[in-house]
Symmetry: C2
Subunit: 334 residues, 2 copies
């Protein structure tokens, strides 16, 4: 039977690298991951691990619970989770969760408890205490993507920090009248992450003695949402802010488009900063706080495999990387 | 044990409607589908169907093979497939396929043949003859979304027709210099559907005696792809077209953004038409050919359940609806 040493030799990498690639623990490049996976396949190393799984009653399946994949962040995250699970020869069972619906209750109360899989990755769904308890009672490994789950291991950027740094960037450029586009709307509450981003904006204003200038405009966190909110905000010449923080890049890009429509020059008359480094951010020359949901997907799988093999280890919260990316949608206040 | 009549009575619908909702065959509103699914659950009707499945060796799992879900079309389609499978109490195993990679070979040769599920929905992946043969040899129901698969039941719009109608709309407005943005690029071949759209554009020009005016500009089918291609095309004042057909709305929206940046007024100086009715089309007032990938997802599941219960029926190709949606990105030629 092949060993990890055989796989490493065939792939031309060290044993440690082969192990990282196969377990998802620690960084390897996608190319290396693929080469090791191919070597493992050629040597039936994966088949061996499947046989072991059969003996241990494992299903080689991971359940992924996430909102509809209609936002860039979730699509990228899912791609990252897929890549890592595929390299490990795990299947991915996907469960969509529309917020606040009865479908959601059915999912947590009836569907997930009955299904067979080795672990669950819960993404951006803010499980209630009862839902979390349901997931945990199944005694399967659980990892969240998002900062909200005290009861599970998790990976996420620090949303408060991201918005604080975005806002401070504008304050350093001399802006004092800075609006936040992406507050709660009639239609819906803020997600947990978006609420933290709003906090970060307020924290930065407070620290600069600008708390009384806070202006939070409700908007769904989408391009049309940001467009509509910014069009309303910018339409009134007398109370026009000199800068906008978007709750996410989609909302910020919507604001840039609204400004152009109204003949307001970005960045000379209006600075706009977003959060995420969305795939369209570069096209709009958007200054933003970059993060990589795809790498967070890899990291979530790494955390999950760790919990599956060592379920009694303490919970782990991994802070994903984020950093200010300065493009040309922001400039000193005139 | 509960019968379909019990479920229908509890949900307050006819037996025929309850059957449609539970089998996915034929249209029912999402609200009705949910009510019937809830009634079925309350009466353990679903549990009964699962028990039947156990007896018949079925897995209650459907495999979905699709490219990374980073385009609106695939995200919407996946949402539709999820909705229908969830209502039928089926699990969804998701397999991503990056084009042209070795991962793809591993998927078709090693992973899919070993996995246990009742049927497969293949989306936008243009399986080769060998891959199709692999899928069919597993003797599981197979449905494609896309017009390319002779060897399986399929659902798709007529891409040729869609692009022809979009182009004819511009010709009727008096345009003669009409460019197509979204031809093949150095980096990649056109997808099967996009190649048909290019055909449709050429067919319309030929029918109008404008074949010699055809101008196909290479572009990846994304907003940045359309932006870059259109910026190059429109930058040359002397050879500027008066209208553009985008291979999809993303490319068309990229062209609108490029035009605005260059100070070219849409639609007075330049008409732009897209295909898809993407969620951002309305924000850009884009004239387009509308289609609903979400409904195509529902339809794919309906076709699949039909094939699972009657595997020897003839293959069925369902033409999904599409129609011209006129907004204000198109106008008569000046």
């Amino acid at each position: 039977m092949s060993t990890i040493a055989d796989v490493a030799a065939r792939a031309g990498v060290s044993k440690a690298t082969a192990s990282r690639a196969l377990t998802g623990r620690g960084y390897v490049s996608e190319e290396t991951r693929q080469r090791v996976a191919d070597a493992a396949r050629d040597l039936s190393y994966v088949a061996h691990s499947s046989a072991t799984s059969l003996a241990t009653g494992r299903t080689q399946t991971v359940g992924v619970v996430m909102p509809p994949v209609d936002r860039w962040f979730f699509a990228e995250l899912l791609a990252g989770i897929q890549e890592s699970l595929f390299a490990l020869d795990y299947d991915l069972s996907l469960y969509g969760v529309p917020e606040g619906s009865r479908t959601r209750e059915r999912l947590f109360e009836h569907v997930l408890p009955r299904r067979r899989f080795d672990g669950i990755i819960a993404v951006g769904i803010q499980p209630s205490a009862r839902e979390l308890e349901r997931l945990q009672r199944a005694e399967r490994a659980l990892v969240s993507v998002g900062p909200y789950s005290e009861g599970s291991s998790a990976v996420s950027i620090d949303d408060t920090d991201a918005a604080r740094i975005a806002t401070e960037h504008l304050i350093e450029l001399g802006h004092e009248d800075i609006a936040f586009v992406g507050g709660s709307t009639d239609a819906g509450e803020l997600s947990f992450g978006d609420a933290r981003r709003l906090d970060g904006y307020l924290v930065a204003l407070q620290a600069a003695g600008l708390a009384h200038r806070a202006r939070v405009v409700g908007a769904t966190p989408t391009m049309p949402g940001g467009y509509t909110a910014a069009a309303g905000l910018l339409g009134d010449r007398r109370h026009r802010p000199t800068a906008i923080v978007g709750v996410c890049d989609e909302a910020a890009i919507g604001a840039v488009i609204a400004a152009r429509r109204l003949g307001i020059a970005v960045p000379t008359e209006l600075s706009v900063v977003g959060i995420d480094d969305h795939e369209h951010a570069e096209m709009f020359a958007l200054t933003t706080i970059g993060q990589s949901p795809r790498e967070q997907g890899h990291e979530a799988v790494r955390l999950l495999t760790q919990r599956m093999s060592r379920p009694d280890d303490p919970l782990e919260h991994v802070a994903a990387a984020s950093a200010l990316v300065v493009r040309s949608s922001t400039a000193p206040r005139r």
